[in-house]
């Protein structure tokens, strides 16, 4: 199957990459002590690696082109992905849901405190992912400053508690409302912008909020952050750390279910369909009489609401907030979750969050390669599988025939 031409091409590719990575991979300098280290082994690794990867790349490219051709010639391309097909079958889907439900409820009793803690962070990311999914997946607005709203929620709880002693359960809705307000505030100036401008302005907003939190000492206590934030209370009962972690876990599960419910209902609502229409074609969408301003603002503020509530949760879980938790990379991780899972697909985003957050925890040895892998993931997913691991299935209206009700 592999022709001589392909081998030649792969060989050239590997030479090219060996040349390309030569200064960065092979030489390591220490300008302070004037030491130069030569790492020829890396060159060999790059050479062999790119030689092999070039075959994989070519194979995937060919498959992609084949897919295009099929789509053009009108052959059956509408094969529903496996997961979605399973979900469509009630016989498989209901027992699966029951098993998943029992597993989720029993989780903190089966696994250790440590595992529960990790699961709570993963669930926070599920919530963030679902929130960003509204903005990016449904409304098609690339928001790179999403973490700003997360910070708003976390600091809202931390500061309200510090100054006024407000408890978690009151801070949660306040945080959500505050997030929505910030979403609208941010939404207004960026309404007129197209995709790429929007990305950079939201990125700028995210950085502005982080820099303000870092520098405005009187307000946010600067880089040292705020400590001793109380965990959520349960009718005034004193909980130990272990018990309250379990308690937080259940709150998180409830919040995630609530999020899934709301997002699911929103998706099929009037406003949800307006978002999707806006994503597909702004001009056509306006021509159909959809208020662009209102639609974009609701997307922004709803997305921000979830992020803020996740932020309140985060502050309650870690009992400590500081600006370092809210860098641009956090936004990009959340974006990765949405992209990997499948933009617009709820189950995809949940799967994406669990994979991306839990995997690095269990593969500690590779944790330094995490961001590198995320970068590769974004590129590869966009090229070969833009729909994500569990793509969203478009709602199709099928003509079911006219029911003959009046036979008279």
């Amino acid at each position: 199957m592999i022709t001589f031409d392909e081998i030649k091409k792969a060989f050239l590719v590997s030479i090219w990459f060996m040349f390309l990575t030569f200064p960065i991979m092979v030489i390591r300098v220490n300008p302070v002590e004037h030491i130069v280290e030569w790492r020829w082994k890396n060159m060999l690794v790059v050479g062999i690696g790119s030689f092999l990867l070039s075959f994989v790349w070519n194979y995937l490219m060919k498959r992609k082109e084949l897919g295009f051709k099929k789509a053009e010639s009108g052959e059956e391309t509408g094969t529903i992905p496996l997961v979605q097909r399973i979900l469509g079958e009630k016989k498989i889907y209901i027992p699966a849901l029951v098993v998943a439900g029992i597993f989720t409820i029993a989780f903190p009793f089966i696994f250790s405190l440590y595992q529960t803690n990790i699961m709570v962070s993963a669930l926070i990311y599920v919530m963030l992912g679902l929130g960003l999914n509204i903005v990016v997946g449904l409304a098609g607005l690339l928001d790179l400053g999403y973490v700003a709203f997360y910070a708003v929620g976390a600091y809202a709880y931390a500061l309200l508690n510090y100054h006024f002693g407000i408890s978690f359960w009151i801070a949660l809705p306040i945080g959500g409302l505050l997030g929505a307000t910030f979403g609208i505030l941010l939404g207004f100036p960026v309404l007129r912008l197209r995709g790429d401008y929007l990305a950079i302005v939201t990125l700028g907003f995210g950085e502005i909020i982080r820099i303000i939190l870092e520098n405005w000492n009187e307000f946010s206590f600067g880089p040292s952050g705020i400590a001793n934030i109380p965990r959520p209370s349960l009718f005034g009962i004193n909980l130990s750390v272990h018990e309250s972690t379990i308690y937080i876990y259940y709150i998180m599960i409830a919040l995630c279910l609530f999020t899934v419910f709301v997002v699911n209902r929103l998706q099929d609502s009037r406003i949800g369909r307006a978002w999707i229409a806006l994503r597909e074609d702004e001009v056509a969408c306006q021509a159909m009489g959809i208020d662009k301003t209102k639609t974009k603002l609701t997307a922004f503020s709803l997305g921000a609401t979830w992020a803020s509530m996740a932020g309140v949760m985060f502050a309650a879980k870690t009992t400590f907030v500081n600006p370092a938790s809210f860098t641009i990379w956090e936004s990009i991780i959340i974006l990765c979750i949405v992209v990997l899972g499948g933009m617009g697909s709820i189950i995809g985003v949940i799967a994406g969050a669990l994979v991306l957050i839990l995997m690095p925890e269990y593969l500690r040895a590779f944790s330094e390669y995490r961001m590198l892998a995320f970068g590769v993931l974004l590129v590869v997913m966009m090229i070969f599988r833009p729909g994500g691991i569990i793509p969203n299935v478009r709602r199709v209206y099928t003509f079911q025939g006219v029911k003959n009700t009046d036979k008279s």
């Binding site: 960065i24 100036p189 302005v201 700028g204 590198l372």
Partner: protein, 300 residues
Amino acid sequence: MDYFLELFLGGLTRGSIYALIALGYTMVYGIIELINFAHGEIYMIGAFTALIVISVLTLMGMNTIAILVIAGVVAVIYSCAYGYTVEKIAYKPLRNAPRLSALISAIGMSLFLQNYVLLAQTSDFLPFPSLIPDFEFMEPYAHIIGSTEIVILITTAVVMVLLTILIKFTRIGKAMRATSQDKTMAMLVGINVNRVISVTFVVGSATAAIGGVLIASHVGMINFYVGFIAGIKAFVAAVLGGIGSIPGAVLGSFVLGWTESFATGYVSSDYEDVFAFLFLVLILIFRPAGILGRSEKHKI
């Protein structure tokens, strides 16, 4: 008055460097309407390559001027190679995909290149030797402007002139302008659009590399993260001036450079980045096409 002049010239230097990076953004955007998020990383790789070459050659004991020239040339070559490869891998397969896909792919590439340098080299700040000698005739003005700054200003001016000549008077420049106006039509009149896009990336990367070497020797240190912030700032500059327009990018860079310089000089240095972003937001609200950009009209 001296303080004002110092800030003015500082802003000008800063602006020149932003301009060198912003040119790459604006050229790429003009042709394929994509924000090349990885552009800042190309600049960082240029600076790193230069540092590596300088360290190796210094150990071999060459004289400073020769080292500076060789390091500059190698940095430009490698940046061009990276720019070319990034385009082939991350953007070419997505030429007909939705814009959001290409943008996310660009962010992924930026993330990858940062971490590639971080893992292969180091996460620490590395000192970058100042290779530009202090000129004697500059002695009386040393309190206002340094020799490095003069070199930066002159280099930027030369690069700008060369770029203008390239785009206005050469064959490939003509092809570039044609492609940016209408890609399909350019293809129909026999322009190899893929080649034009590659050339654009290579030229943009080359100017970024020059900027990288200059700013690194000006600031005196680099790490894997320098490209990201500089890239964003340069992008802000490109948008300020009107993205897609080359004189606009230069003007926007100077405006941004002065804004930052005066704001940090007279207000506070903690909020340096905030000023840049606030400025961007204000410009986009009141004049979304930028200072020199033309507002587009959509035909339906």
